[in-house]
């Protein structure tokens, strides 16, 4: 009775032996250091907090009840609006950039891509720090804006002396756009490079205005690039920690900052877990929706799509590969 399944299993192991052997190392590593910790986060969110800074016994919904108190929803709301505003601004600025890059002579294009990427080869922390220097009350921009200028005897200044540029949501948004804009420009440019610009000529010949041509012909034409640009900006933006921490103040905290505070200085691990679970949900929602959207598009797949689907490593690899290519190109 027992030998039948066992030989079946043995045969399967022998049959899949090479596959299992080559898959095991990375699969095991990712399971231990990615799947298990993620499940742990989800579980800890339902554990009570122990007074000594550890995790108590039993299961509770207490943490979730605390999270719905008036303090947290405002942070969640701020995280959402700042992330969406940064995404919208990045794409709004990125679209004309992609347009310009795709219209320039072919031999200059890789130079332009290089110019966009070059500043981002410096450390992320240092780029944020550079803005802190600029916006600091004694920094270059502040000094410029706060100084009293006199033109023909008429005195004025750009900002009242008491306004500070640093430690507010405006600074967070500005620096977020600064750090995430290249991730919007590159996929948009990849899509714009494949765009058929003769369509625009046709629209102009038919009498359309420039603004209308841009928004009604160009933007829909690069929508695959727009989708990957949204992902590239929105997901890291939702999980921001460094930017609000270094250029934001107490009134511009985001979920990432709360996770850190709860986990390290406060040692309230269930709280940190619950917030992380919330963030995970928010982060996995947009790619899930995008995945559904690309899957729907496959109903009208062209020949090249089918070929790409056949060559891709797996069914899931298809949508992933598409995104990766979009980003890389």
């Amino acid at each position: 009775m027992q030998s039948a399944p066992r030989t079946g299993l043995l045969r399967r192991i022998r049959h899949h032996g090479a596959e299992l052997l080559i898959t095991a190392p990375s699969m095991a590593w990712m399971t231990v250091f990615f799947v298990v910790p993620t499940v742990l986060v989800l579980l800890l969110a339902f554990r009570p907090t122990a007074l000594d800074g550890g995790v108590g016994r039993g299961w509770t919904l207490q943490t979730w009840r605390t999270i719905s108190n008036p303090n947290y929803p405002s942070i969640v709301w701020r995280t959402i609006w700042l992330s969406f505003a940064a995404t919208a601004l990045s794409i709004g600025i990125g679209l004309p950039c992609a347009f310009a890059m795709a219209r320039i002579k072919a031999q200059w294009r890789s130079t332009l891509v290089g110019l966009v990427i070059l500043p981002f080869w410096t450390s992320f922390l240092i780029r944020v720090f550079a803005w802190r220097l600029l916006l600091h009350p004694e920094g270059t921009i502040s000094v410029f804006l706060h100084r009293t200028w006199s033109v023909f005897g008429w005195q004025f200044r750009f900002l009242a002396p008491e306004t500070t540029l640093l430690y507010n949501s405006f600074a967070v948004l500005l620096v977020m756009v600064y750090t995430y804009l290249p991730f919007a420009i590159l996929p948009l440019y990849a899509a714009a490079e494949k765009f058929d610009f003769s369509l625009l000529e046709a629209a102009f010949d038919l009498g359309a205005r420039p603004w209308r041509v841009f928004w009604r012909i160009f933007v829909p034409g690069v929508r695959a690039g727009v989708v990957s640009a949204v992902m590239m900006v929105l997901i890291p933006a939702l999980g921001s920690y460094v930017v609000p921490d270094l250029v934001g103040g107490p009134n511009s905290e985001m979920v990432g900052n709360k996770i850190y505070q709860r986990a390290l200085p406060d040692r309230n691990l269930p709280h940190a877990s619950a917030l992380s679970a919330l963030l995970m949900l928010g982060v996995l929602l947009p790619p899930g929706l995008a995945w559904l959207a690309t899957r729907k598009r496959h109903l009208g797949a062209t020949d090249t799509d089918v070929v790409a689907a056949m060559n891709s490593p797996s069914a899931l690899g298809n949508s992933g590969g598409r995104r990766r290519n979009g980003v890389r190109a």
Binding site: E19, I22, T23, S26, M27, W29, M30, F33, T38, L40, V41, I93, P96, C97, I104, V113, I117, L118, P119, F120, W121, T122, S123, F124, I126, R127, F129, A130, L133, T140, V143, Y178, Y180, P182, I185, A190, E193, E201, P210, F214, M231, P236, A237, G239, Y241, V242, A263, L269, S276, L279, M280, V283, L284, P287, P313, S314, R324, V327, R328, A329
Partner: protein, 291 residues
């Protein structure tokens, strides 16, 4: 059309201005005698001198390199194996395998940091340079796997068939045919892993323990204390010089390494502009990872 082009070009140049000004101001201020850099108070090297006297920074640099070398080696092995498995076999196991690596790439750093911290606490592991190494290897595996997979997608399978038809064992086929052709992808993945490890702040911040500060964690501490600001300018300027040099060097190396691969796959698919820029794009996604 002209007008649209002119306007978009103007936007593009202003964006470049926006990108470069903060960095230029930082570099200029590293030579500025004024502490806050609002105004120019004369040229000086004193911040560089102070920087070189700081022992803690050198220690942090040593830690950073130790972790980066270890994580790169480990993730190159794991990531290459993962890519080979994913490209060779289909089915649910490999779908899950790819899904794991890919999801990990998408999740924000802070989630990886917090989940690994909770994991290390739960299994009773002391936070040290070793936990930093484990965390870095975990996020580097995904990048190496994707870089090698990119190579494998254009790989001509008939070369392997030819090798085995000519009597090569699977082991010989791998080391004599497949591995040399994959090497540029593996090197690119390794370089990516190395730079990501050196640059990572958020994950390291969560899982580092006493005495295992890496350079980014150290810089963060200096920014927070607000005392050593000009020293950070000097350090940043030096780091920028190093990264720009490293990037130029790796691009030149990659350019050389690409050629045999191109020849091999030329018959099947002419190399597209997208393919040629692969290295850059990957690096950028890498930077995204840091946000």
């Amino acid at each position: 059309m002209k007008r649209l082009q002119r306007r978009s070009l103007a936007t593009f140049w202003s964006v470049l201005f926006f990108f470069y000004v903060p960095i230029l101001v930082l570099v200029v201020n590293s030579f500025n005698a004024s502490k806050f850099g609002g105004a120019w108070k004369g040229f000086t090297f004193k911040w560089y001198e102070k920087l070189f006297q700081d022992r803690a920074i050198w220690q942090a640099m040593e830690n950073t390199f130790a972790v980066a070398v270890g994580a790169t080696l480990a993730s190159v092995v794991l990531g290459t194996l993962a890519a080979l498995a994913i490209s060779r076999w289909k089915g649910r196991l490999q779908s899950a395998h790819y899904g794991l690596l890919y999801t990990h790439l998408v999740l924000p750093d802070i989630l990886m940091g917090i989940s690994l911290l909770l994991f290390f606490i739960s299994v009773g592991m002391e936070l040290s340079l070793f936990t930093v190494f484990l965390a870095h290897t975990t996020f580097c595996v995904s990048y190496v796997a994707m870089a090698v997979l990119g190579r494998l997608e254009n790989f001509d399978g008939s070369l392997l068939e030819a090798a085995s038809d000519l009597g090569a064992t699977p082991w010989q086929t791998f080391w004599k045919v497949q591995f040399p052709l994959l090497l540029p992808g593996i090197v690119a993945g390794g370089l990516l892993a190395f730079t990501l490890s050196i640059d990572d702040f958020v994950i390291t911040f969560f899982v580092n323990g006493a005495g295992s500060e890496t350079l980014p964690v150290k810089i963060y501490g200096m920014i927070k204390r607000s005392r050593d600001l000009p020293k950070i300018n000097a350090l940043s300027t030096l780091m920028m010089c190093v990264t720009v040099l490293a990037v130029v060097a790796s691009r030149m190396m990659q350019g050389r390494g690409m050629r045999p691969q191109k020849d091999a796959s030329a018959a099947r698919r002419p190399s597209s502009p997208a393919e040629r820029r692969e290295g850059q794009g990957g690096r950028v996604r890498g930077a995204a990872h840091h946000a």
